[in-house]
Amino acid sequence: MIAGLPDRERIVITGVGLAAPNGNNLSEFRESLLENRSGVSPYEIRYFGKTLAGICHFDERRYQTKKDQRRGTRAGSIGIYCAHEAVNDSGLDWPNVDKANVGIYIGVTEHGNVETENEIHELRSYDYDTKFWSHHHNPRTVANNPAGEISLNLGITGPHYTIGAACAAGNAGIIQGAQMLRLGECDVALAGGVSESIHTFGIFASFRSQGALASHDDPARASRPFDVDRNGIVVAEGGCLYVLERLSDARKRGARIYGEIAGYAINSDASDFVLPNSDRQAECVERALRRAGLAAEQVDIVSTHATGTASGDVQESAALRRVFGESPHAQFNNAKSFIGHAMGAAGALELGGNLPAFGDRVCHHTMNVDALDPECALQGLVTREPRECKSVNVILNNSFGMLGINSVVIVQRI
């Protein structure tokens, strides 16, 4: 896709802002990944009780007043924090950036459940009399809320919306941003994903009913994709937003470039509400590679989606074996083993955790693979400790979601 494209159609990452359960910015997050630091903690939520979750600890008040927080949502706060951090990181002369030409594209798995549960819980004290239902409910639960709060907070008057793509949403946000830049809809895109899902009991209860919620005596060992003893998902909150620009604009202002969005693809399984489909996943990866003009053996790191469920990890492993062969050049890793599944933020966060590899040539590992499930066998899966690579030029990032949505983003060193 990029070969032969003029610089104004090539899209690059020039800023990263993130909130992860084990880091409040890219360098902290990366350090945690390299030093085997989990972000999973004990957690308790009403009705459901005790469980585990990836909980973020960023300073909400850094960019919001108490009133902003009171009025908005957790997803909004995460988005605002990440957006400011990404803009600061990008080195853009923000006061002089034309805010009408900035677009906000935020991937979300779901939005509105937290506020709806809160309101119903509150309403119970008033005998379910809807006169006591908050006027804040609608602005907090409209699907564009997390993107809209960023627009309000940063005074951005270009387009803002969310992209609902289940757990493929982080990649979908990045893809949307890249496409809008190519179309000339904006000059700067704030793109990625956020998730507030740990604040809804429903997500825990639903995963448990599905037999897909992880449990373990040691929180740090609960999220264990590819391990034979994995028993489900650890839900996490978080966010990761990128500043995306056209290569021509980034070069003109002498911006630091993290990498280029070299290729991407989104497709659908069209086969099941929740069960993944390895053939469609493989096709999605192949399509992204084709668009990037890359062969599988040119990929250095594959950031896997695997969530720690019985079937999901097996299906993805099969898809990756199909694309990359039995003796691949690529190294495979998984960030959910550290932080749990950050839902709509997962794809963007997991890509972020790997971007520094372009500089340090280290592939972070997958935690908790004490005994590899033979069905998940992936030659090149990095376990136990980070692995040094000869060179890292291409990172491929998988992110899949319910209702059979698959997304792949490929980033190339530039």
């Binding site: 007043t65 009133k67 009171r70 009025r71 006169k131 908050s134 006027h135 804040h136 602005p139």
Partner: protein
């Protein structure tokens, strides 16, 4: 509730609605909007909090009565005189 108690209740609500501001120096006869950063959603919050805390119903046509502390207390006094302090 007596008028001073009603005023105290209003200030308590304002404190939760405008948590970044000091409401202790709010002047009784100056419109609240001129002293605090309040928008229409905040006034709806005042109405909702009065409903939740004291079960006082304020018809939309009467929202204008909530302009100042004095006008609010004056308006609420007959509605809240038989209530106990929350």
């Amino acid at each position: 509730m007596s008028p001073p108690e009603i005023k105290e209740a209003i200030l308590d609500i304002l404190e939760s609605i405008a948590p970044d501001e000091d409401v202790t120096n709010v002047k009784d006869d100056v419109p609240l909007r001129e002293q605090l950063e309040l928008d229409s959603m905040d006034f709806l919050d005042i109405v909702m909090e009065l409903r939740k805390r004291y079960r006082v119903q304020i018809p939309e046509d009467d929202y204008v009565q909530l302009a100042t502390i004095n006008s609010t207390v004056e308006y609420l006094a007959p509605l809240m005189k038989d209530l106990q302090k929350a």
